[in-house]
């Protein structure tokens, strides 16, 4: 239903065990009318396959790109998207909210 992320963490574990590089992106803070609440997550593997969401689909592309770096480096990153930030506006959180997304490598 509306608030279920159950398969995402399972996929993270399965992909990691299958030998993929995997990153997990989690919404940790929201201001204004952010589409997904804190705790929402997105899992990405090194093929670029992803499951889940951190917004209404607006910033997922950018998150996936950053996640690829995190898989490479192993270092967690904090991303911020919102109307106050020109580049973030370009990736389009057009709903007027601001979100912070924590991206970390799994494993």
């Amino acid at each position: 239903m509306l608030d279920r992320d159950e398969d995402i963490l399972k996929a993270a574990e399965d992909w990691q065990k299958a030998g993929h590089g995997v990153a997990l992106a989690t919404v940790v803070e929201t201001w204004g009318s952010a589409p997904r609440p804190a705790g929402s997550s997105l899992v990405i593997n090194d093929d670029g396959t992803f499951l889940g969401s951190v917004s209404g689909g607006c910033v997922e592309g950018a998150v996936v790109t950053e996640a690829m770096d995190v898989i490479q480096s192993g270092k967690p990153k904090m991303l911020e998207f919102g109307v106050a930030d020109e580049t973030a506006w370009n990736v389009g959180l057009s709903c007027g909210g601001t979100i912070r997304v924590f991206v970390e490598k799994v494993g």
């Binding site: 990691q16 970390e104 494993g107």
Partner: protein, 233 residues
Amino acid sequence: MKLAILHELNAERAARRPAILVTDTESGEQRLVKAQDFAKDPLRAELEKQLRMGKSANVEVGGKKLFLNVYAPTAKLVIIGAVHISQALAPLARSLGYDVTVVDPRTAFASPERFPDIPLVADWPDVALPPLNVDAYTAFVAVTHDPKIDDPALLHAFERNCFYIGALGSRKTHAKRGDRLRAQGAKDSDIARIHAPIGLSIGAVSPSEIAVAIMAEITAVLRLPPKEKEEAA
């Protein structure tokens, strides 16, 4: 996230036990706190509050910025009785995020035509309930008005420690129900857990309005801290 933590988290989720992942968002350090360990945790108050709200949040403790990610099991609603109220209650509960199952041995009631897309079990409670894994994250509602069906179902709900138990019927009906359940071994403290008459008192008349009253009451029990809960009831 370390694979060991992810594995442990997935195990807790599969077992429908709540847990909170605490992440230091600057260092990336993480630890998983299972609900059973909340009481001895330094963040006890914060952990308990966020779990009750079912909400992930940031806290600042000792100069550290911590993100508390709450993993609470999806709440379930088991409805005993495929009656008119249930036809309104099941879709309403679903829209609130509950996993809903309707149980009624009477096949004329428990028909897919009456409950499109809702899991239905057309069997007696003693057969239907054990596979549903009724637990502390389950709200349990008995609305058949038939003691043969409602009573054994309520006994099961007591045993499984459902966070909410409600039963349809006036105060008089409920008093008789209490006598019957006691005769079958229920304790007074069990009977006291039943919300009856069911639902918040909002003057509900139609089945849909009664469904709203029931879901409002379940929400209050789920979300309010214990003291305010008493005041709302």
